[in-house]
Structure formats: C-alpha cells, structure tokens
Symmetry: C2
Subunit: 149 residues, 2 copies
DNA sequence: TTTAACTGTTCAACTACTTAACTATTAACG
DNA sequence: CGTTAATAGTTAAGTAGTTGAACAGTTAAA
C-alpha cells in the first residue's frame, strides 16, 4: 500500500466513523424519548445484565471517573430507577440494583431500540449484517487491548 | 432467519456498537489532549474542509439545535480558534472561519489522530480495513436516509 | 406595507464530565 | 497491636454540551 493510499484510508475512516457514531446516537436518543438519556439507558442495561454492580465497576466499563458515576446514579436514583445497598461484609461497597420502575423503563426502552435496530438492519442482506457485526467485534477487541495499555 | 436469530443479532449489534463508540471516543480524547475536546476538533475539521460555513449548517450536520452551536462557537471564539464574519449581502448570515491559531491546533490534533488511527488499522490486514470502511459507509448512507424522515 | 420566514443570539435549566479534597472502611506490615 | 496503605464512594467547584423558549434583526412573500 503506497503512502497516499494509507492517508486516504485513514481520512475516510475518521470521517465516516465519526459520522456514523453521531447519527446512531441521535437516532437512539429520538427513539428512547425524554424519559431516559442514552447514557442512563446503557447504565440500566449494564445493571440489568449484571444483576447488580458497583460504582467502580461502572466507572471502569464506561471509562469515566467514579465521581461521574456517583452523579449519574444520583440523578437516576432521584427518578426512582436504581437502588443503593451497602454491603454488610465490606461497608465501603455499595451495590447498585434496578428498582421495579427502573426495570420497566429499561425494558420499554430496550424494546424501542430493538425495533429501531431491527428495522435498520432489515435494510441490508444477511451477509452484510454478519459483516457489520464482525467488523464491530474485531474493532471492539482491538480497542479493548489498546485501552488497556 | 428464525425469530431468536434476529433478536440475538440485534442484541449483539447494540452491545458491540455502543462499546466501540465509547472506546473510540475515549481513545481520540486521550490522543487530542486537553487543548481541544472531541466536538471542538470535529468542528474545526468541518470548517477547515468547508473553508467557511454557517451556524445553521453546523447545526444540521451535527444534528443539534442552533443555540448549541452558538454556545460551542463562542467557547472556541474565546480560545481564539474561530472567527465570525457577517455576510454583506444577507446580514442575517454569519460565516465561520478558522483563525491561524485554530488551523494550527486543528492540524496538530489531526496529525495525532492520524497516527492513532494508522497504528490502529495497521493491526488488521488490507481486506479487513476495506471491509471496515465499507461497513461504515453503508451504515452512514442508511443512517442519513433514516435521519431525513 | 404588512406579514411570514429565516439566521442567529440570549437565558434558564439540565446532563455529563474532571480534578481535588474528603470520609469511612478495610488491608498490610513492622 | 497500632500505624500506615489502599480502597469505595461522596462532595464541591468548574467546564462542555445540550434543549426549549423567547427574542432581534434581516429578508422574502403576500
């Protein structure tokens, strides 16, 4: 691959990945509506799948400082979506779980996103979709390694 | 494709695309440093490539309200990165252009991101990279259509 | 010429994030 | 055992980015 080729590839990669990122987030936001922000939805999603988790865990997964998690969980707690429970054995630890309301809202939002993504991937054929997911999974793997340096 | 298949595909798609989005943004942020935020960098990028543009144009491209653009451009103007120039023919319009400092900072940040992305895509073979870009371009195209509804 | 449409700004309110200092608790080690 | 380290989470001040609604000024349309 010659020098201008790689520069051109990198250029296209940057431009189009940024564009896709912005547009996808915007679509999801429109679909979820005003009950939940994107970040709050993905927080509910994580807690739901983990059953329960800690602030430190969320901070690592979302790659933000713990104080950012405290603030977000407080906002969600004020809306009645999550609960804080202190660990009896290690009194430093606080477990986060979904309330009934939080779970309901999560399921509703998840359904909406499923419909959105399904209608979206229906615009492509099977081979293409497999390729999309393969692409994302490969990128995700290498990004995880790069982050861990 | 049976029903559980498509549900599973959608699940994987949502999870992995969110993960990639977060990690990529985080890497870029680390690379750019504290001089520029991701959004400010991509705003510089857009203005640089367009030569000059308007607030309305940016609002449409980034899919945010015009007041959000006013606020961001003001922050960048305070840092001496962009200029506002009123159109002489249509006094409603304000043209945004990069200052010398803005352009320098953009070029520097762009170099950093190029090195990052290049080292990143060097971890894959040519066929894979072509596939990545193809994937993003297909997604971008359909996302644009979906947004326009 | 009045009315409508458009461009951009201001303001209040909100989400999200960082840094730094802090509390409370547990673990480590001499 | 007791002092010191590390760990989990919170608080507070400051910044970035966003929305919605009201607004000023300008241009286009009726």
């Amino acid at each position: 691959m010659s020098v201008p080729d790689i520069k051109d590839l990198v250029d296209r990669y940057i431009a189009v990945s940024f564009s896709v990122e912005k547009k996808a987030a915007s679509l999801v936001k429109d679909q979820i509506g005003s009950d939940l922000t994107n970040d709050q939805h993905f927080t509910l999603r994580y807690i739901n799948q983990a059953g329960s988790c800690t602030s430190s865990e969320l901070a690592e997964v979302f790659d933000v400082k713990k104080s950012a998690i405290t603030a977000m969980i407080t906002r969600m707690w004020e809306k009645g979506l999550v609960q804080r429970t202190r660990d009896e054995n290690d009194r430093r630890v606080v477990y986060l779980t979904l309330t009934e309301k939080g779970n309901e809202l999560y399921v509703k939002a998840e359904e909406k996103i499923h419909i959105l993504v399904e209608s979206f991937i229906n615009k492509f054929d099977q081979t293409e979709i497999q390729q999309f997911i393969e692409t994302f999974e490969k990128l995700d793997k290498v990004l995880s390694q790069t982050n861990g340096q």
